[in-house]
Amino acid sequence: MSSTVVEPVPRGTLGARVGRGLKDWVPALVVFVAGIALWEGLVRGLDIQNFLLPPPSDIVQTLWTERDVLWSAAWFTFEEALGGWVIGCSAAIVVAIVLARWPLIAAAVMPFAIAANAVPIIAFAPITNNWFGALNQLSKMVIAAVLCFFPVLINTLRGLTSVRPQQIELMRSYAAGETQIFRRVRIPNALPYIFTGLKVATVLAMIGAIVGDYFGGSQNALGIQIRRQAGVFAFTEAWAAIMIASILGIAFYAAVAAVERLTMGWHPSARATTE
Protein backbone atom coordinates (compact mmCIF):
# COMPACT_ATOMS: atom_id res chain seq x y z
CA MET A 1 0.00 0.00 0.00
CA SER A 2 3.03 2.22 0.25
CA SER A 3 2.99 2.47 -3.53
CA THR A 4 0.18 5.00 -3.41
CA VAL A 5 1.33 8.42 -2.36
CA VAL A 6 -1.55 10.28 -0.81
CA GLU A 7 -0.74 13.57 0.83
CA PRO A 8 -2.75 14.58 3.87
CA VAL A 9 -5.25 17.32 3.14
CA PRO A 10 -4.41 20.44 5.15
CA ARG A 11 -7.08 21.33 7.65
CA GLY A 12 -9.05 24.53 7.00
CA THR A 13 -8.33 27.71 8.90
CA LEU A 14 -10.95 29.11 11.26
CA GLY A 15 -12.00 31.71 8.70
CA ALA A 16 -12.38 29.11 5.98
CA ARG A 17 -14.42 26.89 8.28
CA VAL A 18 -16.85 29.63 9.29
CA GLY A 19 -17.54 31.37 6.02
CA ARG A 20 -17.02 30.88 2.34
CA GLY A 21 -14.59 32.98 0.36
CA LEU A 22 -15.60 36.53 -0.47
CA LYS A 23 -16.05 35.79 -4.16
CA ASP A 24 -18.72 33.18 -3.39
CA TRP A 25 -20.84 36.01 -2.03
CA VAL A 26 -20.57 38.28 -5.05
CA PRO A 27 -23.56 36.84 -7.00
CA ALA A 28 -25.85 37.11 -3.97
CA LEU A 29 -24.66 40.65 -3.33
CA VAL A 30 -25.40 41.64 -6.92
CA VAL A 31 -28.95 40.24 -6.66
CA PHE A 32 -29.47 42.10 -3.36
CA VAL A 33 -28.33 45.45 -4.72
CA ALA A 34 -30.31 44.97 -7.94
CA GLY A 35 -33.43 44.05 -5.95
CA ILE A 36 -33.22 47.16 -3.80
CA ALA A 37 -32.57 49.34 -6.85
CA LEU A 38 -35.55 47.78 -8.67
CA TRP A 39 -37.79 48.40 -5.64
CA GLU A 40 -36.65 52.02 -5.36
CA GLY A 41 -36.99 52.60 -9.11
CA LEU A 42 -40.44 51.02 -9.42
CA VAL A 43 -41.89 52.85 -6.41
CA ARG A 44 -40.59 56.20 -7.64
CA GLY A 45 -41.16 55.59 -11.37
CA LEU A 46 -44.74 54.32 -11.02
CA ASP A 47 -45.42 56.84 -8.25
CA ILE A 48 -46.72 54.19 -5.87
CA GLN A 49 -48.43 55.64 -2.81
CA ASN A 50 -46.42 55.55 0.37
CA PHE A 51 -49.06 53.57 2.29
CA LEU A 52 -48.91 50.79 -0.31
CA LEU A 53 -45.13 50.50 -0.46
CA PRO A 54 -42.61 53.09 0.68
CA PRO A 55 -39.27 53.26 -1.18
CA PRO A 56 -36.32 51.63 0.60
CA SER A 57 -34.51 54.97 0.95
CA ASP A 58 -37.39 56.33 3.07
CA ILE A 59 -37.41 53.17 5.18
CA VAL A 60 -33.69 53.39 5.83
CA GLN A 61 -34.01 57.06 6.71
CA THR A 62 -36.79 56.34 9.20
CA LEU A 63 -34.76 53.44 10.56
CA TRP A 64 -32.04 55.96 11.35
CA THR A 65 -34.18 58.81 12.77
CA GLU A 66 -36.28 56.45 14.91
CA ARG A 67 -33.34 54.29 15.86
CA ASP A 68 -33.65 54.66 19.65
CA VAL A 69 -37.32 53.65 19.85
CA LEU A 70 -36.94 50.94 17.23
CA TRP A 71 -33.80 49.44 18.72
CA SER A 72 -35.22 49.31 22.23
CA ALA A 73 -38.45 47.71 20.93
CA ALA A 74 -36.50 45.29 18.74
CA TRP A 75 -34.29 44.20 21.61
CA PHE A 76 -37.34 43.71 23.86
CA THR A 77 -38.96 41.43 21.28
CA PHE A 78 -35.70 39.68 20.53
CA GLU A 79 -35.41 38.78 24.21
CA GLU A 80 -38.86 37.20 23.97
CA ALA A 81 -37.81 35.24 20.91
CA LEU A 82 -34.48 34.16 22.36
CA GLY A 83 -35.99 33.14 25.68
CA GLY A 84 -38.69 31.13 23.94
CA TRP A 85 -36.11 29.55 21.64
CA VAL A 86 -33.92 28.46 24.56
CA ILE A 87 -36.87 27.04 26.55
CA GLY A 88 -38.50 25.31 23.56
CA CYS A 89 -35.32 23.85 22.10
CA SER A 90 -33.91 22.53 25.37
CA ALA A 91 -37.24 20.96 26.28
CA ALA A 92 -37.46 19.37 22.83
CA ILE A 93 -33.95 17.90 23.02
CA VAL A 94 -34.54 16.45 26.49
CA VAL A 95 -37.88 14.94 25.45
CA ALA A 96 -36.34 13.53 22.24
CA ILE A 97 -33.59 11.81 24.26
CA VAL A 98 -36.18 10.28 26.59
CA LEU A 99 -38.31 9.10 23.66
CA ALA A 100 -35.32 7.62 21.83
CA ARG A 101 -34.06 5.89 24.96
CA TRP A 102 -37.42 4.31 25.83
CA PRO A 103 -39.23 3.53 22.57
CA LEU A 104 -42.28 2.33 24.51
CA ILE A 105 -42.88 5.87 25.79
CA ALA A 106 -42.40 7.17 22.25
CA ALA A 107 -44.99 4.72 20.91
CA ALA A 108 -47.45 5.93 23.56
CA VAL A 109 -46.78 9.64 23.18
CA MET A 110 -45.84 10.31 19.56
CA PRO A 111 -49.38 10.13 18.08
CA PHE A 112 -50.45 12.90 20.44
CA ALA A 113 -47.32 14.92 19.75
CA ILE A 114 -48.01 14.72 16.02
CA ALA A 115 -51.66 15.69 16.55
CA ALA A 116 -50.60 18.58 18.80
CA ASN A 117 -48.18 19.69 16.11
CA ALA A 118 -51.15 20.32 13.79
CA VAL A 119 -52.73 22.74 16.29
CA PRO A 120 -52.33 26.39 15.20
CA ILE A 121 -50.34 27.34 18.26
CA ILE A 122 -50.37 31.06 17.54
CA ALA A 123 -54.12 30.98 18.27
CA PHE A 124 -53.19 30.48 21.91
CA ALA A 125 -51.46 33.88 22.16
CA PRO A 126 -54.43 35.62 23.89
CA ILE A 127 -54.59 32.70 26.33
CA THR A 128 -50.91 32.85 27.27
CA ASN A 129 -51.35 36.62 27.76
CA ASN A 130 -54.05 35.69 30.22
CA TRP A 131 -51.89 33.04 31.92
CA PHE A 132 -48.64 34.96 32.32
CA GLY A 133 -49.77 38.59 31.95
CA ALA A 134 -49.62 40.52 28.67
CA LEU A 135 -46.83 42.76 29.94
CA ASN A 136 -44.73 39.82 31.06
CA GLN A 137 -42.24 38.75 28.39
CA LEU A 138 -42.85 35.19 29.50
CA SER A 139 -46.27 35.17 27.82
CA LYS A 140 -44.57 35.64 24.42
CA MET A 141 -41.69 33.30 25.27
CA VAL A 142 -44.19 30.53 25.84
CA ILE A 143 -45.69 30.99 22.39
CA ALA A 144 -42.23 31.08 20.82
CA ALA A 145 -41.17 28.04 22.87
CA VAL A 146 -44.15 25.94 21.79
CA LEU A 147 -43.54 26.89 18.15
CA CYS A 148 -39.88 25.84 18.43
CA PHE A 149 -40.61 22.61 20.27
CA PHE A 150 -41.91 20.31 17.52
CA PRO A 151 -39.43 20.84 14.71
CA VAL A 152 -36.54 20.41 17.14
CA LEU A 153 -38.17 17.35 18.73
CA ILE A 154 -38.80 15.64 15.38
CA ASN A 155 -35.34 16.42 14.03
CA THR A 156 -33.52 15.35 17.18
CA LEU A 157 -35.51 12.15 17.38
CA ARG A 158 -34.70 11.33 13.78
CA GLY A 159 -31.02 12.00 14.39
CA LEU A 160 -30.96 9.81 17.49
CA THR A 161 -32.69 6.90 15.78
CA SER A 162 -31.16 7.04 12.29
CA VAL A 163 -27.99 5.29 13.40
CA ARG A 164 -26.66 2.57 11.09
CA PRO A 165 -27.24 -0.92 12.56
CA GLN A 166 -23.58 -1.80 12.12
CA GLN A 167 -22.56 1.14 14.30
CA ILE A 168 -24.66 -0.39 17.06
CA GLU A 169 -23.20 -3.87 16.40
CA LEU A 170 -19.72 -2.40 16.58
CA MET A 171 -20.46 -0.75 19.93
CA ARG A 172 -21.96 -3.96 21.27
CA SER A 173 -18.83 -5.82 20.22
CA TYR A 174 -17.02 -3.51 22.65
CA ALA A 175 -19.49 -4.56 25.35
CA ALA A 176 -21.14 -1.11 25.31
CA GLY A 177 -24.47 -0.64 27.07
CA GLU A 178 -27.31 1.66 26.03
CA THR A 179 -25.88 4.66 27.88
CA GLN A 180 -22.50 4.32 26.16
CA ILE A 181 -24.18 3.90 22.77
CA PHE A 182 -26.16 7.08 23.43
CA ARG A 183 -23.21 9.11 24.49
CA ARG A 184 -20.81 7.94 21.83
CA VAL A 185 -23.01 7.24 18.82
CA ARG A 186 -26.58 8.48 18.98
CA ILE A 187 -26.00 12.00 20.28
CA PRO A 188 -23.06 12.87 17.99
CA ASN A 189 -24.99 11.34 15.10
CA ALA A 190 -27.97 13.57 15.94
CA LEU A 191 -25.98 16.83 16.00
CA PRO A 192 -26.47 17.78 12.32
CA TYR A 193 -30.19 17.04 12.68
CA ILE A 194 -30.40 19.06 15.89
CA PHE A 195 -28.78 22.06 14.24
CA THR A 196 -31.24 21.87 11.35
CA GLY A 197 -34.03 22.01 13.93
CA LEU A 198 -32.37 24.84 15.85
CA LYS A 199 -32.05 26.95 12.70
CA VAL A 200 -35.69 26.46 11.73
CA ALA A 201 -36.61 27.29 15.31
CA THR A 202 -34.90 30.72 15.20
CA VAL A 203 -37.35 31.80 12.50
CA LEU A 204 -40.32 30.35 14.37
CA ALA A 205 -39.24 32.03 17.60
CA MET A 206 -39.17 35.45 15.91
CA ILE A 207 -42.61 34.82 14.41
CA GLY A 208 -43.95 33.69 17.78
CA ALA A 209 -42.60 36.73 19.60
CA ILE A 210 -43.83 39.30 17.07
CA VAL A 211 -47.26 37.77 16.56
CA GLY A 212 -47.48 37.36 20.33
CA ASP A 213 -46.86 41.11 20.59
CA TYR A 214 -49.78 41.76 18.22
CA PHE A 215 -52.17 40.42 20.82
CA GLY A 216 -51.15 43.08 23.29
CA GLY A 217 -48.36 43.77 25.71
CA SER A 218 -45.70 46.33 26.46
CA GLN A 219 -45.76 49.43 24.23
CA ASN A 220 -42.04 48.94 23.91
CA ALA A 221 -42.31 45.79 21.78
CA LEU A 222 -41.67 45.45 18.07
CA GLY A 223 -45.00 43.77 17.26
CA ILE A 224 -46.89 46.52 19.06
CA GLN A 225 -44.86 49.15 17.19
CA ILE A 226 -45.69 47.62 13.82
CA ARG A 227 -49.39 47.33 14.66
CA ARG A 228 -49.68 50.84 16.09
CA GLN A 229 -47.76 52.60 13.30
CA ALA A 230 -49.78 50.81 10.65
CA GLY A 231 -52.94 51.78 12.57
CA VAL A 232 -52.09 55.50 12.34
CA PHE A 233 -51.03 55.26 8.66
CA ALA A 234 -47.35 55.72 9.52
CA PHE A 235 -46.42 53.01 7.06
CA THR A 236 -42.82 53.99 6.63
CA GLU A 237 -42.36 53.58 10.39
CA ALA A 238 -44.13 50.21 10.26
CA TRP A 239 -41.85 49.12 7.42
CA ALA A 240 -38.82 50.27 9.34
CA ALA A 241 -39.92 48.10 12.27
CA ILE A 242 -40.48 45.15 9.93
CA MET A 243 -37.03 45.73 8.48
CA ILE A 244 -35.34 45.63 11.87
CA ALA A 245 -37.31 42.49 12.76
CA SER A 246 -36.02 40.88 9.56
CA ILE A 247 -32.44 41.92 10.26
CA LEU A 248 -32.62 40.46 13.77
CA GLY A 249 -34.22 37.26 12.45
CA ILE A 250 -31.50 36.80 9.86
CA ALA A 251 -28.75 37.58 12.40
CA PHE A 252 -30.25 35.03 14.82
CA TYR A 253 -30.30 32.37 12.13
CA ALA A 254 -26.78 33.23 10.99
CA ALA A 255 -25.45 33.06 14.54
CA VAL A 256 -26.77 29.52 14.99
CA ALA A 257 -25.44 28.56 11.56
CA ALA A 258 -22.00 29.90 12.54
CA VAL A 259 -21.98 27.83 15.73
CA GLU A 260 -22.98 24.82 13.65
CA ARG A 261 -20.06 25.31 11.28
CA LEU A 262 -17.61 25.74 14.15
CA THR A 263 -18.72 22.65 16.06
CA MET A 264 -19.10 20.41 13.04
CA GLY A 265 -15.90 20.76 11.08
CA TRP A 266 -16.04 16.97 10.81
CA HIS A 267 -19.33 16.92 8.97
CA PRO A 268 -19.26 16.28 5.21
CA SER A 269 -21.22 19.53 4.78
CA ALA A 270 -18.02 21.32 5.78
CA ARG A 271 -16.27 19.75 2.79
CA ALA A 272 -16.67 22.75 0.52
CA THR A 273 -14.82 24.97 2.98
CA THR A 274 -11.80 22.78 3.59
CA GLU A 275 -10.97 21.71 0.08
Binding site: V6, E7, R164, Q167, S173, Y174, R184, W266, H267
Partner: protein, 273 residues
Protein backbone atom coordinates in the same frame (compact mmCIF):
# COMPACT_ATOMS: atom_id res chain seq x y z
CA UNK B 1 -5.88 -24.28 22.15
CA UNK B 2 -9.31 -23.96 20.54
CA UNK B 3 -10.41 -20.35 20.11
CA UNK B 4 -13.79 -20.94 18.49
CA UNK B 5 -15.84 -24.07 18.94
CA UNK B 6 -19.25 -24.49 17.30
CA UNK B 7 -21.43 -27.52 17.86
CA UNK B 8 -24.78 -28.14 16.20
CA UNK B 9 -25.38 -24.43 15.66
CA UNK B 10 -28.67 -23.69 13.88
CA UNK B 11 -30.45 -20.44 13.28
CA UNK B 12 -34.02 -19.79 12.20
CA UNK B 13 -35.31 -16.30 11.57
CA UNK B 14 -38.86 -15.64 12.67
CA UNK B 15 -41.02 -18.23 14.36
CA UNK B 16 -40.71 -21.41 12.32
CA UNK B 17 -39.52 -19.24 9.45
CA UNK B 18 -36.43 -19.20 7.29
CA UNK B 19 -33.74 -21.68 8.21
CA UNK B 20 -30.50 -19.75 7.79
CA UNK B 21 -28.00 -22.16 9.34
CA UNK B 22 -28.24 -25.88 9.93
CA UNK B 23 -26.13 -27.94 12.32
CA UNK B 24 -22.87 -26.04 11.95
CA UNK B 25 -19.96 -27.67 13.75
CA UNK B 26 -16.33 -26.60 13.56
CA UNK B 27 -13.33 -26.04 15.80
CA UNK B 28 -10.90 -23.23 15.07
CA UNK B 29 -7.50 -23.39 16.74
CA UNK B 30 -5.35 -20.54 17.96
CA UNK B 31 -3.42 -18.81 15.19
CA UNK B 32 -5.56 -20.18 12.37
CA UNK B 33 -6.86 -18.09 9.50
CA UNK B 34 -10.21 -19.58 8.54
CA UNK B 35 -12.34 -18.29 5.69
CA UNK B 36 -16.06 -18.92 5.40
CA UNK B 37 -17.07 -18.96 1.77
CA UNK B 38 -20.40 -19.51 0.09
CA UNK B 39 -22.98 -17.82 -2.11
CA UNK B 40 -25.08 -14.91 -0.89
CA UNK B 41 -27.66 -16.11 1.59
CA UNK B 42 -25.67 -19.07 2.90
CA UNK B 43 -25.63 -17.50 6.34
CA UNK B 44 -21.89 -16.93 6.58
CA UNK B 45 -22.32 -13.40 7.96
CA UNK B 46 -24.96 -14.70 10.36
CA UNK B 47 -22.51 -17.35 11.56
CA UNK B 48 -19.85 -14.69 12.14
CA UNK B 49 -22.33 -12.65 14.20
CA UNK B 50 -23.27 -15.72 16.24
CA UNK B 51 -19.59 -16.18 17.12
CA UNK B 52 -19.51 -12.50 18.11
CA UNK B 53 -22.70 -12.78 20.23
CA UNK B 54 -24.38 -10.15 18.07
CA UNK B 55 -27.05 -12.68 17.04
CA UNK B 56 -28.31 -15.56 19.18
CA UNK B 57 -28.41 -19.05 17.65
CA UNK B 58 -31.72 -20.93 17.76
CA UNK B 59 -29.88 -23.99 19.00
CA UNK B 60 -26.36 -25.32 19.47
CA UNK B 61 -23.33 -24.48 21.56
CA UNK B 62 -20.89 -21.63 20.88
CA UNK B 63 -17.67 -21.47 22.86
CA UNK B 64 -15.26 -18.58 22.26
CA UNK B 65 -11.90 -18.44 24.00
CA UNK B 66 -13.05 -21.11 26.43
CA UNK B 67 -16.21 -19.28 27.55
CA UNK B 68 -19.70 -18.56 26.31
CA UNK B 69 -19.91 -16.20 23.32
CA UNK B 70 -21.72 -13.73 25.57
CA UNK B 71 -18.97 -13.68 28.17
CA UNK B 72 -16.34 -13.44 25.43
CA UNK B 73 -18.07 -10.35 24.05
CA UNK B 74 -18.25 -8.75 27.49
CA UNK B 75 -14.54 -9.53 27.97
CA UNK B 76 -13.79 -7.94 24.58
CA UNK B 77 -12.15 -11.09 23.28
CA UNK B 78 -12.65 -10.22 19.64
CA UNK B 79 -12.34 -7.30 17.25
CA UNK B 80 -14.73 -7.03 14.33
CA UNK B 81 -14.39 -5.50 10.85
CA UNK B 82 -17.38 -5.06 8.54
CA UNK B 83 -17.61 -4.66 4.78
CA UNK B 84 -18.38 -1.01 5.40
CA UNK B 85 -15.64 0.60 7.50
CA UNK B 86 -18.25 1.89 10.02
CA UNK B 87 -16.13 4.82 11.09
CA UNK B 88 -17.63 7.61 13.12
CA UNK B 89 -17.70 10.77 11.01
CA UNK B 90 -17.22 13.07 13.99
CA UNK B 91 -14.03 11.35 15.12
CA UNK B 92 -10.63 11.80 13.55
CA UNK B 93 -8.65 8.80 12.33
CA UNK B 94 -6.73 8.66 15.63
CA UNK B 95 -9.89 8.93 17.71
CA UNK B 96 -11.67 6.28 15.68
CA UNK B 97 -8.80 3.88 16.27
CA UNK B 98 -8.70 4.80 19.96
CA UNK B 99 -12.44 4.37 20.54
CA UNK B 100 -12.28 0.85 22.02
CA UNK B 101 -9.38 1.93 24.23
CA UNK B 102 -11.39 4.92 25.47
CA UNK B 103 -14.21 2.57 26.36
CA UNK B 104 -11.82 0.28 28.17
CA UNK B 105 -10.68 3.22 30.28
CA UNK B 106 -7.11 3.52 29.03
CA UNK B 107 -5.59 6.86 30.03
CA UNK B 108 -4.82 9.42 27.36
CA UNK B 109 -1.09 8.83 27.26
CA UNK B 110 -1.23 5.06 26.95
CA UNK B 111 -3.96 5.44 24.36
CA UNK B 112 -2.03 7.85 22.17
CA UNK B 113 1.08 5.63 22.31
CA UNK B 114 -0.93 2.63 21.19
CA UNK B 115 -2.77 4.57 18.47
CA UNK B 116 0.55 5.77 17.12
CA UNK B 117 1.81 2.17 16.86
CA UNK B 118 -1.34 1.17 14.99
CA UNK B 119 -1.16 4.15 12.63
CA UNK B 120 2.34 2.99 11.73
CA UNK B 121 1.16 -0.61 11.37
CA UNK B 122 -1.53 0.27 8.82
CA UNK B 123 0.64 2.97 7.23
CA UNK B 124 -1.58 5.97 7.77
CA UNK B 125 1.08 8.28 9.20
CA UNK B 126 0.13 11.89 8.57
CA UNK B 127 -3.58 11.17 8.53
CA UNK B 128 -4.15 11.03 12.31
CA UNK B 129 -6.08 14.30 12.36
CA UNK B 130 -8.18 13.59 9.29
CA UNK B 131 -11.85 12.81 9.31
CA UNK B 132 -13.22 9.69 7.59
CA UNK B 133 -14.70 11.54 4.61
CA UNK B 134 -11.24 12.79 3.72
CA UNK B 135 -10.00 9.21 3.17
CA UNK B 136 -10.37 6.76 0.28
CA UNK B 137 -12.31 3.53 0.79
CA UNK B 138 -9.13 1.49 1.22
CA UNK B 139 -7.74 3.90 3.80
CA UNK B 140 -11.02 3.87 5.71
CA UNK B 141 -10.89 0.09 5.86
CA UNK B 142 -7.32 0.26 7.19
CA UNK B 143 -8.55 2.54 9.98
CA UNK B 144 -11.27 0.01 10.70
CA UNK B 145 -8.72 -2.83 10.89
CA UNK B 146 -6.44 -0.79 13.14
CA UNK B 147 -9.39 -0.12 15.43
CA UNK B 148 -10.22 -3.83 15.63
CA UNK B 149 -6.59 -4.61 16.49
CA UNK B 150 -6.18 -1.74 18.95
CA UNK B 151 -6.86 -3.73 22.09
CA UNK B 152 -4.99 -6.78 20.83
CA UNK B 153 -7.94 -9.19 20.84
CA UNK B 154 -7.13 -12.90 20.53
CA UNK B 155 -9.78 -13.24 17.79
CA UNK B 156 -10.47 -11.14 14.72
CA UNK B 157 -13.87 -11.44 12.99
CA UNK B 158 -13.99 -10.02 9.47
CA UNK B 159 -17.18 -9.78 7.43
CA UNK B 160 -16.24 -9.31 3.76
CA UNK B 161 -13.90 -6.49 4.77
CA UNK B 162 -12.58 -5.92 1.26
CA UNK B 163 -15.80 -6.67 -0.62
CA UNK B 164 -16.47 -3.05 -1.52
CA UNK B 165 -12.94 -2.27 -2.71
CA UNK B 166 -11.47 -2.43 -6.18
CA UNK B 167 -9.40 -5.47 -7.13
CA UNK B 168 -6.02 -3.76 -6.82
CA UNK B 169 -6.70 -2.26 -3.40
CA UNK B 170 -8.12 -5.58 -2.30
CA UNK B 171 -4.98 -7.53 -3.26
CA UNK B 172 -2.77 -4.99 -1.55
CA UNK B 173 -4.84 -5.13 1.63
CA UNK B 174 -4.81 -8.95 1.47
CA UNK B 175 -1.01 -8.90 1.72
CA UNK B 176 -1.24 -6.25 4.42
CA UNK B 177 -3.67 -8.33 6.43
CA UNK B 178 -1.42 -11.40 6.24
CA UNK B 179 1.51 -9.36 7.51
CA UNK B 180 -0.60 -8.09 10.42
CA UNK B 181 -1.91 -11.59 11.15
CA UNK B 182 1.62 -13.00 11.28
CA UNK B 183 2.83 -10.17 13.49
CA UNK B 184 -0.06 -10.35 15.95
CA UNK B 185 -0.45 -14.12 16.10
CA UNK B 186 -4.20 -13.73 16.49
CA UNK B 187 -6.87 -16.03 15.11
CA UNK B 188 -8.93 -14.78 12.15
CA UNK B 189 -12.39 -15.80 10.96
CA UNK B 190 -12.89 -14.24 7.57
CA UNK B 191 -16.11 -14.13 5.55
CA UNK B 192 -15.78 -13.67 1.80
CA UNK B 193 -17.41 -14.65 -1.47
CA UNK B 194 -14.22 -14.53 -3.46
CA UNK B 195 -12.68 -17.97 -3.94
CA UNK B 196 -9.20 -16.65 -4.74
CA UNK B 197 -9.20 -14.34 -1.74
CA UNK B 198 -10.22 -17.20 0.56
CA UNK B 199 -7.50 -19.51 -0.78
CA UNK B 200 -4.84 -16.83 -0.78
CA UNK B 201 -5.40 -15.77 2.82
CA UNK B 202 -6.44 -18.86 4.70
CA UNK B 203 -5.02 -21.85 6.41
CA UNK B 204 -8.44 -23.49 6.00
CA UNK B 205 -11.39 -22.65 3.76
CA UNK B 206 -14.84 -23.62 5.02
CA UNK B 207 -17.26 -24.01 2.10
CA UNK B 208 -20.95 -23.44 2.80
CA UNK B 209 -24.09 -24.23 0.83
CA UNK B 210 -27.03 -21.90 0.23
CA UNK B 211 -30.20 -21.96 2.36
CA UNK B 212 -30.11 -23.54 4.79
CA UNK B 213 -26.42 -22.82 5.31
CA UNK B 214 -24.46 -26.00 5.94
CA UNK B 215 -20.77 -26.82 5.82
CA UNK B 216 -20.29 -28.87 2.66
CA UNK B 217 -16.53 -29.15 2.82
CA UNK B 218 -13.34 -27.88 4.39
CA UNK B 219 -10.22 -27.35 2.28
CA UNK B 220 -6.88 -27.22 4.08
CA UNK B 221 -4.63 -24.71 2.32
CA UNK B 222 -1.03 -25.97 2.30
CA UNK B 223 0.48 -23.04 0.41
CA UNK B 224 3.80 -22.02 1.98
CA UNK B 225 3.93 -19.13 4.42
CA UNK B 226 4.50 -16.25 4.18
CA UNK B 227 2.35 -15.79 1.11
CA UNK B 228 3.48 -13.24 -1.44
CA UNK B 229 2.23 -11.84 -4.72
CA UNK B 230 3.92 -14.87 -6.37
CA UNK B 231 1.71 -17.26 -4.42
CA UNK B 232 -1.11 -16.45 -6.81
CA UNK B 233 1.02 -17.65 -9.73
CA UNK B 234 1.75 -21.09 -8.30
CA UNK B 235 0.08 -24.19 -9.78
CA UNK B 236 -0.94 -25.32 -6.29
CA UNK B 237 -2.92 -22.08 -5.87
CA UNK B 238 -4.89 -22.82 -9.06
CA UNK B 239 -5.45 -26.41 -7.89
CA UNK B 240 -6.84 -25.30 -4.54
CA UNK B 241 -9.15 -22.81 -6.25
CA UNK B 242 -10.42 -25.67 -8.40
CA UNK B 243 -11.02 -27.81 -5.31
CA UNK B 244 -13.00 -25.07 -3.59
CA UNK B 245 -15.02 -24.46 -6.73
CA UNK B 246 -15.85 -28.16 -7.07
CA UNK B 247 -17.13 -28.30 -3.52
CA UNK B 248 -19.12 -25.10 -4.03
CA UNK B 249 -20.67 -26.61 -7.16
CA UNK B 250 -21.56 -29.84 -5.40
CA UNK B 251 -23.19 -27.73 -2.67
CA UNK B 252 -25.28 -25.97 -5.27
CA UNK B 253 -23.71 -22.62 -4.76
CA UNK B 254 -21.45 -21.96 -7.69
CA UNK B 255 -23.90 -20.39 -10.10
CA UNK B 256 -24.22 -17.41 -7.76
CA UNK B 257 -20.48 -16.79 -7.72
CA UNK B 258 -19.04 -13.84 -9.52
CA UNK B 259 -15.62 -15.00 -10.69
CA UNK B 260 -12.82 -12.46 -10.60
CA UNK B 261 -10.61 -11.97 -13.64
CA UNK B 262 -8.17 -14.75 -12.88
CA UNK B 263 -10.90 -17.13 -11.81
CA UNK B 264 -12.60 -16.59 -15.15
CA UNK B 265 -9.27 -17.32 -16.82
CA UNK B 266 -8.83 -20.56 -14.90
CA UNK B 267 -12.39 -21.53 -15.69
CA UNK B 268 -11.69 -20.91 -19.37
CA UNK B 269 -8.57 -23.09 -19.17
CA UNK B 270 -10.58 -25.83 -17.57
CA UNK B 271 -13.06 -25.59 -20.42
CA UNK B 272 -10.26 -26.06 -22.97
CA UNK B 273 -8.90 -29.22 -21.39
Amino acid sequence: MTVVSLEGVSKEFGTGGVRALQEIGIEIAEGEFVSLIGPSGCGKSTLLRIIGDLIQPTSGAVVVNGKTAHQARLDRDYGIVFQDAVLFDWRTVAKNIGLPLEMMGWDRRRRSDRVKQLIDLVELTGFEGHHPWQLSGGMQQRVSIARALSFDPPLLLMDEPFGALDEMTRERLNLELLRIWEASGSTVVFVTHSISEAVFLSTRVVVMSPRPGRIVGIVGVDLPQPRTADTRESPRFAELIRDVRRILRSGGGLDVEEPSGEEALIAAEEGLQ
